[in-house]
Symmetry: C2
Subunit: 457 residues, 2 copies
């Protein structure tokens, strides 16, 4: 039952209700995520080792498995106020069209120029870089959302921003590149010949479309080789999930205000930044035994790390220069087909989510991209928002769950994360409109081959 006579279409928190702390779900985990390992020694990375690559304060956040609430600095909270709180939307029109008794809610993170939730962590990482007195940061970007977000944050704080953009996205999404340039970033297609590792990958795979793994290697190499620069990453890492917990915290506060208890929480999963951020405070309740929720990770059938990968130590990057992380992985040499949800093409998955998945605290499903675009178009027409292909993975799953409710008559509360908009994905939509979209599924052999190259730990 709701506290409101009628639940509004959109619930915005007041600024005073916005989170003042990030929520660190690791604090609630009895079995913690496995530590990052130094590939040379096989021993856990020390703070000092990590600080060569990452900002000092971010390393502290990365390694902190105990503090449940970590204060959000005021300057970051002020920046958040420029585009947050994001609305929690009751999908009345979708429910009506589906004829489902389920109540569907989505947390919409697309109403900012980066077009996604990525800005939540970008401003935090840029802030700590600035406070450390650095000149700039380097990063990789897939679909371009993270790179755009970081460019915006760096422009705001006056930091230099160097982006290695996965080649296929660089070519398919030239407009993203221009947005980043408008914010003053330097953008290079990856693999490039500006780094040693880029040249090596190009020599080994001259026809490659690029991958997040390659781009990470290049960005790390650049940062390590240039004084005053550090590397920042938009997903996978513990610190990123921490920053993204603002999504879940706002969602939970809004649901609590409305008197609504979520039954199912759904998020698309590439590296896990959105899913991890969305579910964190709910997962905390589940881990503490205070409430139960069903969590669903939705991944593309073409890059199925949870559902067809292995839970093992692996490199975070294709160039094998980063620390090893224990995660569900398809192998750092796995090269996904050029699907259109560029943000979901990473070979691995957040160590936090991987550990929770291994503990059976959540389940994972895969969806094919043609089904995803069908759901995206349907959603656009019914709810008025043109979703990012990434986000549409969660839409597809939410629709399927709502249709199950229609069969069973269960009036479940379904909450999903609508991570962003598809305005820069019109090449893909055009292909779908023209009937030229196909599904790519990796063969068992492809996956086995990539997994055979996992490092021995």
């Amino acid at each position: 039952m709701s506290n409101y006579e009628t639940i509004p279409y959109k619930t915005y928190l007041d600024e005073s209700e916005m989170p003042k702390f990030w929520y660190n779900v690791r604090a609630d985990m009895k079995k913690k995520p496995a530590p990052l390992l130094n590939p040379a020694t096989g021993k856990p990375m020390t703070a000092q080792e990590l600080e060569g690559v990452f900002c000092k304060e971010l390393v502290a956040q990365e390694l902190d498995d105990e503090t449940q609430l970590i204060p959000i600095p005021e300057e970051i909270r002020d920046f958040y106020k420029m585009y947050r709180p994001s609305p929690l939307v009751r999908a009345y029109c979708l429910e009506k069209q589906l004829g489902t008794p389920a109540h569907i809610y989505y947390k919409f993170e697309g109403n900012n120029t980066s077009g996604s939730h990525k800005l939540n962590s970008a401003i935090a990482q840029a802030y700590y870089a600035k406070h450390q007195g650095l000149k700039g940061v380097t990063t990789e970007t897939g679909a371009g959302q993270w790179g755009t977000a970081l460019s915006m944050a760096c422009a705001y704080l006056g930091l230099d921003c160097i982006v290695f953009m996965v080649k296929v996205s660089y070519e398919q999404k030239p407009f993203r590149r221009e947005v980043m340039r408008t914010y003053g970033a330097r953008v290079t297609p990856s693999p490039s010949n500006t780094t040693e590792i880029g040249r090596k990958i190009l020599a080994d795979f001259p026809e490659t479309d690029g991958s997040l793994g390659c781009a990470i290697s290049e960005a790390v190499e650049y940062a390590v080789g240039h004084p005053g620069y550090r590397y920042v990453l938009g997903s996978v890492l513990n610190q990123v999930l921490l920053h993204q917990s603002v999504i879940g915290l706002e969602t939970k506060t809004a649901l609590d205000k409305l008197g609504v208890k979520a039954d199912i929480v759904i998020g698309c999963a590439g590296g896990g930044s959105n899913l991890g951020g969305l579910i964190s405070p709910f997962m905390g309740e589940k881990l503490r035994g205070e409430a139960d929720y069903e969590f669903i990770a939705v991944e593309p059938a073409s890059c199925p790390s949870f559902t067809r990968g292995k839970f093992a130590y692996d490199f975070c990057d294709t160039g094998c220069i980063c620390p090893l992380a224990k995660m569900y992985t398809l192998g750092s040499r796995f090269m996904p087909s050029p699907i259109h949800a560029g943000g979901l093409r990473y070979h691995g998955m957040s160590p936090v989510l991987s550990e929770l998945y291994d503990q059976k605290m959540m389940r994972a499903i895969t969806v094919c991209q043609t089904d995803v675009f069908k759901a995206a178009e349907y959603f656009a027409r019914v709810e008025g928002i043109l979703p990012a292909p990434e986000s549409a993975h969660a839409i597809k799953a939410a629709i399927d769950e709502a249709l199950k409710c229609k069969e069973t008559g269960a009036q479940k509360n379904i909450v999903f994360g609508l991570t962003g908009t598809g305005y820069f994905d019109m090449v893909a939509y055009g292909k779908y409109n023209d009937g030229n979209m196909v599904d790519y599924l990796p063969s068992d052999e492809d996956i086995a081959k990539a997994l055979a190259q996992l490092p021995k730990v």
Copy 2:
């Protein structure tokens, strides 16, 4: 003084505070806008004559100069709830960067998939078409915002949507076309050879980039020639300003809640839909002598209807098949240069605004596109929103007013309309980033030549 201890960054109204009536500023005008004339007879168009082109209920709204408050049907209000209320933003960061004592507010209409305020009237017009039992509607679109908005509204209501898109935009903005197609619209570049008038314009100006005036002619011809279709227009008309009054009404309610009295209200002006909608309730107070405001219309130097046009009866379209409207106009044969603010390329100006301008109730200024893009980039970096080139005209003017306040020390409250986002304008931004943007100004001769062809009434 404000009612709030601290004015929030963003003020959202509750759904219960959203307008239930549109505000018809004509009711407050002692001297009404001149009526539309039948070009054949020179006499005012009757409702019956207009109903061959427009929906019945919209004709009634077009001709109603007396009713101040016109109820918004519930179905439209429900649709509004999907993307409204739009935020009234306090531009704290911009103020700080400028070092101005002025307080700057903007009403941001870009947080919906059409990317602009155009959806406010699109849903209204589609709704009345649907209620009249029509099959579909035809329209023109310049920058593509109006066409996208209409496509969304038609998809929602299950209406056929036929869009003639100004050729230069069709080519420069292929992604807009795909958005419209995703929403099920049929999109044709204009001038086209699918209409008689299109073929004629192509014969006379084979190299034309197209213009809103041409596209209007084609859309009207198509509607009149196909039973079950009517023509709808995204700007200029009285009915459009009426629907767009939701912008001003929400702005005024929010300012009243905050205890803030606007001193200056600024809007970009192409056909006048945004400016008219934004200022309507404020203008009403000024017309009734209840309050004073300074209103500023900002138009592109390349298409300066207020500042270099003539207040006279003219055709609304290049093909001269529409009724005559008394407005500030550059002449219906005026062909603006291919500037990047496609939405501001119309030769004329809303008759309501034209009459108010003639009564000296507002002033108008022009800005050059290079200055507009400079302001746009600055705003994007400081306030985090990448504006549409159209909207950036208002930004430029607001910044200039704020800098004047810095000189004088006046703490004015400046309110401007941020009509939309520039996500589909990255070709233009790219040109600006590359330093390849230039300004086009029509010569006195160009304007005199076009004005010489005004119809004799």
